[in-house]
Subunit: 416 residues, 2 copies
């Protein structure tokens, strides 16, 4: 298997060199052809997907996981329209807004280039196969795709359809490499392919991401954990506060930008926390509160130290009453994962202080943490949400899949 | 020792949180105070440096290494003026040129932030202690410094002087952490401090860099290897060609942007390669040539496959005659390390083709590869030259030591 993966990575690297020089139009034509191919082969995809669903039911996958795995005509159409959307985005390659004169009059231009070969390691959802390939190709990269074993039949057929149509439409042979092995060793091999794979992006559960971050010698963009907070300041507008908390917690509890801890200023809590707690509980949210919270809200469990640290990804919310915006910021500094943090306030100074002092990818004033997303940010697409500070931070669109190069024009300069 | 390092990293992280919020003026005042402190303690530094020199002589370090290690008044003054130079640079923090409206009218602003804690692992030159600290602090980071054992006395006294003066001038306690252990295990510990160290930058020999890239779970910026080429096109202006080759090879052969292989178009070679070879040999350069080269230049060794791959870092140059610009580009693709590549030509189309098709951090037309350097590029300083494609590529100035964050202003937006 190792030899097979190395061959695939070499093929990807060779393809990447040609991908980097393609015209925008060629890339877009291919993306549109890939979209059509998905639509045209929908029944074939659904029948392969049924094999995964069957196996999943046998293995006792949860209903939520089965739902993520399931493909139907609508979902295939939605993957196809994702491809068309990426085709419509501006080509991120060859751009730059920096040109200057360096030593001795050399002219230096910084332009964006593809990264090369992007390795995606992901779980469950078959649509990642399409999304990741589309974004990588649009940014002039080749891509190596390693999906989860639960979706192996779906991913295999999808990858085969899109790579065939991509090549027929003019992309270089080998630009989409799908790893058919479901062996976990395959990930280990990918993590050591320095010189062939330029970056690995793991998307999935915390265990997968941790394993890749800890063991890869290929550079990694870490995605994932979001222990996100909403802080309701003393001056928060109560109706807005309730809406933002409810949305952050209940809109889609299983995702990384969901709100996990509610911090409430004591002056606001006295009057409004009871109502907000009732509204949350009416939505089925289990609350775990500090002592002060429990004095204001009946019949909730006490929050333990571990509650402040937990990304529940579920209808559970930790609640803490604080004495000041400073205490809220300090709590976030201690327990947050630098993903998405929000303050609800009408106080200008507190809004500014919170945005300046909280160190996170996205820091909100008076909006839901759920907006941390490439589509909501207007990037037109998203390959993941980076939780590290190098290369990319927060939602990653096409730009995160590019590198740079310096082109220097001289007329015979040598250094003294 | 592990416990000690963890304590230092925690102290650095705490300091980093305060560093991020400092005013530009505070940082600059501290940098100037650090410069003065170095000047004022020059004799103390020189006497500690003498201990390293003595030990180095005992260990039989080469004259070149001893020279790199040696400090005198001039070199200390030069470190101090480096600090003053960094003080004069524009603060890279809090900047951004992107503000836009996202979904539902949220306003998104992207601004630059510090990275957090930067770990530098370096060898030999004591001036890196000062340069790295200055750049990291200016960009609002804390820094952990792990220098080589040969310079331990020099680095220890320098780090102690600059950190004391930095704190006295208003920087947070702990913002410069110097690792006094000369145990190689210290590097291994640093490589696993995820969550405390945000990035590691190794600077030194290929072995050190490879070990860090392969074993670190903390994100790494790879620096180093440059197997750089100069290609003399058929239309190259002969005098310019000779100057650029001589400069690339002999100006400072031991550095990563030195020229290691000369590629020569066959039409140019026939008339001019003999002269250029004579000029190189007159400068003491040993040539290793392909067969066609040896037919044109007398008494040189044949180049083996390994010569095309080697970064000599010495007065040795591999020489190959090629049939076309395409063959030159293909050779560079195969053997280059994507550092610095140059073409000398008067042909517009070949110049453009070379710059587009060669994938390297810096691609030159009619200038020496030696310009790949933060100072020559006008960055005012340099923390290293990245040879990877993530986060930073090529010479790294202050901007490479920053991350970003998104600040979002809403008025109650929630996602539907």
């Amino acid at each position: 298997m190792q030899e097979q993966l190395i061959q695939q990575a070499k093929a990807a690297k060779a393809a990447a060199q040609r991908m980097a020089l393609l015209k925008t139009n060629t890339k877009n034509t291919a993306l549109l052809a890939m979209a059509d191919a998905l639509t045209n082969h929908a029944s074939q995809i659904i029948s392969e997907n049924e094999k995964d669903m069957e196996a999943g039911r046998h293995q006792g996958l949860s209903l939520a996981l089965l739902d993520r795995l399931m493909l139907n005509d609508d979902r295939i159409e939605s993957m196809a329209s994702g491809l068309r959307q990426v085709a419509s985005l501006k080509d991120p390659i060859g751009e730059g807004n920096k040109v200057w004169i360096g030593a001795d009059g050399i002219q230096i231009t910084q332009i964006s280039t593809p990264i090369g070969v992007v390795g995606m390691i992901y779980e469950a959802r078959p649509n990642v196969t399409v999304d990741a390939a589309a974004l990588c190709l649009k940014a002039g990269n080749a891509v190596m795709l390693k999906g989860g074993s639960e979706a192996i039949h779906s991913n295999t057929i999808i990858a085969s359809i899109i790579s065939r149509s991509a090549v027929e439409a003019g992309l270089p042979e080998g630009c989409i490499q799908f790893i058919t092995s479901t062996d976990r060793e395959a990930v280990k091999v990918m993590m050591k392919l320095n010189g062939l794979i330029d970056v690995l992006i793991p998307r999935g559960g915390a265990g997968l991401i941790k394993a890749v971050v800890e063991n890869s010698s290929v550079p990694v963009i870490e995605t994932g954990v979001g222990n996100c907070h909403v802080y309701l300041d003393a001056s928060a507008e109560p109706v807005m506060a309730e809406k933002i908390v409810i949305n952050g917690k209940t809109h889609r509890p299983g995702v990384c930008n969901a709100t996990e801890t509610l911090l409430v200023h004591k002056d606001f809590a006295g009057q409004h926390l009871g109502n907000i707690a009732d509204a949350l509980m009416a939505k089925g949210v289990e609350l775990r509160g500090c002592e002060k919270t429990r004095a204001l809200v009946n019949n909730i469990l006490p929050a333990k130290e571990s509650d402040w640290e937990t990304e529940y990804l579920d209808l559970v919310l930790a609640v803490k009453v604080v004495n000041s915006v400073e205490e809220a910021i300090e709590h976030i500094r201690r327990y947050g994962t630098q993903h998405s943090e929000a303050i609800v306030t009408e106080n200008y100074s507190h809004a500014r202080q919170f945005q300046r002092e909280v160190d996170a990818a996205a820091v909100y004033v008076n909006a839901s943490t759920r907006y941390t997303d490439g589509h909501q940010f207007g990037f037109g697409a998203e390959i993941g949400i980076s939780t590290q500070k190098l290369h990319a931070r927060g939602p990653m669109g096409l730009e995160a899949l590019t590198s740079i190069k310096y082109m220097i024009q001289g007329n015979g300069q040598i250094r003294n």
